[in-house]
Symmetry: C2
Subunit: 500 residues, 2 copies
């Protein structure tokens, strides 16, 4: 691997040369050499437009097997490292999208390579157990060392799952089971419950609902999809449930300048939530749970205030609904706290918190009372994957050892300030810069401009993702430092300056 | 690993000593030494009752974190090998359940250990990509080398997914999308489609259905669960869809002795299928797809004839429904063919074939026309896991190199014949021995007796699983040889002889 590392000194001087010719404000990271990551590259390096010829060839090949309409390009993961993704045409891009926000500490982190090269890991890699019946000896220890060491406030129980959708599906099931036992007053189903459930009919399969929010995204399997409302392409043609959908506050940014207007907007949405709960109870489809993201990510990086979430939590309590915080995209540190809901400052923030992506394994934490009362009610063959727990434990070690959450706060501040400056400089193109930690976004004039900017940035060596109708979302790894922010801002500035 | 291998010679002599004291017929495998697996143990070895003290201690520990009602015991996967699962109390059991049928070529297969120890695998293990947008360079090659090399007849397209439930959920979505485009006559949704789908309403979220069979099992996420009808514990308290459920033939065994009765029973079920399709169309919930297992596994190892499946396929054609064969449990070789549906002898057996478990990755094959017409319709963050594709490619190499499907036929014949003999010997306890390859089952007098026999066999070193109301299912790995069959039959014979 070392053989393909270009000389750091040479790369830095190259960057400086590039800066000389570029317009407008220039960021120079004086601290760069001090905090530089040992295993990182020094900057983007573009050899072809993207996708390059090799990517195009492979896309054609894969097109014989799958729909390739979403393929950006093919990657050389062996050569990728740190914040840089290398493609099969030797283009090296600063990755601020990180596999849809799912790479916690960059590519080929030495700690993870070392762990996987360790002979002790081999058995975990080749013997995937049915965790729910035959767990490995170190399972309680690894879960304690990994997931439980970052458990949300008030939670000591966690269930692993294979992916985000499975996590949310099972979290919903846990809420339904909990709600029905509460309705019964005990956990002994009637004969009618048992017989009707086998044919999908009430009361065994009850008409319960989950309240979700317009703009929310919770996955694409059919239960999750009934609570997803970000884009029609996800939902079109798939049968769904008649479940209540509340408006998510549409805030004005920067939040601190619009406190009064935003509070009014949030109050309106909360009122609507209560109305919907009452209405759906009257319809005979009581709301068993409320599901919400701390920041609506896929739906456009929509924020709400801690007050909003606290009030919503209270409404859930008041109406006997479980409160499920979906941290699949927000969890894992990129907001500057390990869980985005920690920004609400609550001791009892949720009944269920689901995760996946940066946590490498899916799953959900839950309050004691949300644990299914019998075995096999929340169950499947694999129930997660211990090899991912191994990786997660090491990722958490790195996060702690390198104080990455502090770094995220520092980089995030630089990023958001940079976005504010660009927004002031290009008011016709950019608006609504917003974020927490490095979990930032900015709106672009329109969808077409957004997509054009994304492609132009990519051709200059910066990989970004879109979200919502016309936003760009920033989802760097936790090892994204201030000097990476500066590299990005300089390139994005060039892209904007050259934009017609 | 070699240090804990007990001398093969010593173990064989121990086995022979055990045989001396046992009643009834005794199987002695003369060929054992010749075909013995190099990395396998020689027989069970029990030190404690199961779960032993260490398992009990760990179960208590895990009980603070999760519901542990389904935990059998904790495993020492490092020491497990071949057909033998070793627990944390040093009990070594002949494993005929294989992690709910999901271990293809036994524990710690040397070929897999070698693959994972190879430095070239490291990058795949630590850099999990978002496969739908940024696949690795070797993705088309690995897919071709692994999944496409065993593609069902008539299929050249495959989509990987993380697990069995996700595979079926997405297969259902693919069928819904295909059906709606067929209804439209084109693939351009109306404005009403686009707006109504965002709020879970028709026509955007249409009232389409999937026809499934009583006794079927297709997973536990909410779409899958609406087609699962094996046990109430899976379904109770979870809202569902009003979808049609047909009877699955209840055949008499051995099949060759009841051809006329079974043909009548199958005709009755097929007639009901057609009635349901018509009825649900009239109800405004047309059947977009039919989903069925080639052998209902979780539901009790219920078989049907090739004729039944051929007729069902024709009914699907006739009524314009997609035909989805769920091979999550049956796929991967244990029926003696790589896919159980190959026993039907059809060129065009299905529109969709889903898999998981022994294939190590989830996913589904599909006919060209079942591919979603646009990107991001069938999508999620990970879309499978390339590290599992790596393992699968090697598993397939081993299956070919060692002619494991032939071995399965041989072992399966020995197993089924042995079950017939035991059934003749214990007619008050055993009935309905049945199977294809080593994918066998037998019915026990009642649920309580079944569970008691399972525990007694386990205490004597044989790990088995139940299915249906009162069946035992046999799900050995593909490296389960005739002499393993004999070890099992001898022990099971002892268990039955001692059963009060």
């Amino acid at each position: 691997m070392a053989s393909s590392l270009i000389s750091r000194q040479f790369a830095l001087s190259l960057q400086k040369n590039l800066w000389l010719g570029a317009p407008a404000c220039r960021y120079v990271s004086k601290a760069a050499r001090k905090t530089q990551l040992e295993f990182d590259y020094d900057g983007p390096s573009m050899k072809t437009s993207v996708p390059g010829p090799r990517s195009q060839e492979l896309t054609k090949q894969l097109g014989e097997i799958q729909n390739v309409g979403a393929i950006n390009f093919f990657c050389n993961y062996e050569e990728s490292r740190g914040n840089y993704l290398v493609d099969v045409d030797s283009n090296r891009m600063l990755d601020i999208y990180t596999q849809i926000s799912s790479i916690p500490i960059g590519y080929n982190h030495p700690a993870l390579l070392k762990l996987m090269a360790n002979a002790n890991s081999l058995s975990t890699l080749v013997n995937r157990p049915a965790l729910g019946i035959l767990p490995p000896e170190n399972f309680p220890e690894k879960i304690t060392e990994s997931l439980l060491s970052v458990a949300p406030s008030g939670m000591t129980r966690v269930q692993t799952m294979a992916c985000g959708s499975c996590s949310n599906e099972n979290a919903y099931k846990a809420m339904f089971i909990w709600y029905r036992n509460k309705e019964r007053g005990h956990n002994i189903p009637s004969d009618e419950d048992l017989s009707t459930c086998m044919i999908n009919q009430a009361p065994g399969c009850p008409d319960l609902s989950i309240l979700s929010f317009m703009g929310g995204f919770h996955g694409r399997t059919m239960g999750c999809l009934a609570t997803t409302h970000s884009k029609s392409v996800h939902k079109l043609d798939v049968p769904s449930f008649d479940w209540p959908i509340a408006p998510f506050p549409r805030l004005q940014y920067p939040l601190e300048e619009f406190t009064k207007e935003n509070a009014q907007e949030e109050a309106r949405c909360l009122e609507e939530v209560e109305d919907l709960i009452v209405k759906w109870r009257q319809k005979g489809k009581p709301v068993a749970g409320i599901v919400i993201e701390p920041i609506q990510a896929e739906g456009g990086d929509n924020h709400a205030s801690p007050d909003f979430f606290r009030s919503l939590r209270n409404i859930a309590h008041k109406h006997g609904c479980a409160f499920h915080v979906d941290e699949v995209q927000t969890g894992g540190g990129s907001t500057g706290k390990f869980w985005a809901h920690e920004h609400w400052g609550m001791d009892d923030p949720a009944d269920i918190v689901s995760f996946s992506k940066k946590l490498l394994t899916g799953g959900y934490y839950h309050k004691d009372e949300l644990q299914a009362d019998k075995p096999y009610r929340i169950f499947n063959t694999w129930m997660g994957d211990p090899s991912k727990n191994l990786l997660l434990a090491e990722v958490l070690n790195v996060i702690r050892r390198e104080n990455l959450l502090e770094e995220v706060m520092r980089s995030g501040k630089a990023l958001l300030n940079g976005l504010y400056e660009l927004q002031a400089q290009y008011p016709g193109i950019l608006s609504r810069a917003r974020g927490q930690g490095t979990f930032c976004a900015i709106d672009i004039r329109d969808d077409a401009t957004r997509n054009s900017l994304l492609l132009k940035a990519r051709d200059k060596g910066v990989l970004l993702g879109g979200c919502g109708d016309r936003s760009i979302r920033f989802r760097p790894a936790l090892i994204f430092k201030e000097y990476h922010v500066h590299i990005f801002l300089n390139i994005f500035n060039d892209v904007l300056a050259q934009h017609k």
